[in-house]
Symmetry: C2
Subunit: 259 residues, 2 copies
Amino acid sequence: METLQQIQHFFNKGYIDYRPGLSIDCAIFGYHDGELKLLLCKNKVITKWCLPGGFVKRAENLDEAAARVTAERTGLDNLFLKQFKTFGNPGRTSSPGLLDEDKFNELLGFKIEPDSWLLAETVSVGFYAITDIVNAQPKPDFVSSECAWFSIDSLPELGFDHGEMVKAAISSMWIDLYHFPIGKNLLQPKFTLKEIKLLYEVLSGKKLNATNFPNKLMALGLLTKLDEKRSIGGHRSPTYYKFDEPTYEKALEEGLVLV
Amino acid sequence: METLQQIQHFFNKGYIDYRPGLSIDCAIFGYHDGELKLLLCKNKVITKWCLPGGFVKRAENLDEAAARVTAERTGLDNLFLKQFKTFGNPGRTSSPGLLDEDKFNELLGFKIEPDSWLLAETVSVGFYAITDIVNAQPKPDFVSSECAWFSIDSLPELGFDHGEMVKAAISSMWIDLYHFPIGKNLLQPKFTLKEIKLLYEVLSGKKLNATNFPNKLMALGLLTKLDEKRSIGGHRSPTYYKFDEPTYEKALEEGLVLV
């Protein structure tokens, strides 16, 4: 946890290390056992739930900033982060009354300079990632009172323009499902066709055909059938599959068409 | 054309109206008769070809900035512009020697203040659009010596990180072809199946099946068959089609899956 002195330095002199007016926000989706959730942090100043985010350091690129912020918030440092859209409406962070200086001062215990770089209009680059909830350890930053997972179907009202960001992240993810492989950190190393179908159904919000869908994945060379079955007894034991590593990595790089 | 006084004001006091450190760049693709080109402007200061772009005004959002810049550069004000990626690597506009103050001064005929807001590190939001070349009237701005269309297969070396931007714009466009309708301003109001197939082939760089591809468009309800043929004589005269307006507009809004 940061000391008061560190926080004070960040508020008043942070522009030395950080780029004023440029932030990233991350929609971190959490998948587990057929459920999709979203990680939100409750902002102390505007007292609303927000996507975890932060300012971009002068020395880092946008991908590095997104990786740093998600690592700080989730403890995970190997997420596949994808930039989806940038948000820059006038007033999105600087509308009168949105960031209350007095409230800042009260919460932090020191006075923010009225021309603090943190109060300036900010453009934010949106990233999303999908992780297994059990791997993540949500951790609030100093402007957040708590972090929590919310079911994607019952999100609270979000602060700033983060509601719009989440919609855009979900639309992007739906399209990306057709063009990039997914599942490596969300399924066990060996999985059944039913499990990967469930993953895609939950992420896309669509029912998939039990025969056509795995056939498409097989046709793309993404899956390797193992000579091993899950032992649930009898002839109904489902066969295990695994991802074909080289094909998966190549598709992540070059894209694919899941048709 | 801007007066010297206006240009001088922009360089030294432009931050009053514009947001320092935030620009947009536009990959404007031009389609005509089976050829795909890209609009580039030759930057006088770095003497390289670049995407047309500009700073974002404080009063406008990112989409409005992109529409303004493309209207200024092409004379077209109804383009379907799509944000594809934001570029923010450290040094992308502020590497030592990249923007030569002396050269600026020489070209412009006045002295730029060394701490001019224009020399600061800038993050750029990339947009792309596709237009019919015959509709556009390329027009250089005051930092450009000329604007020209280049075949997508033989682009010159681009300045800044614009080469990377073009690659990303093309990748995005290829994916978007599967999820958004296209063609309304690129084909005549009545067109043949051969013409729309050629459009998709040129945009995607892929050969398409002469039967399956139109069938997919028909299945999506995007095309309406007209009771009219192009008269090229005899029984080989191809039938005309047009877009189904409501379906097209809905798909533009909600997305589709061209599979």
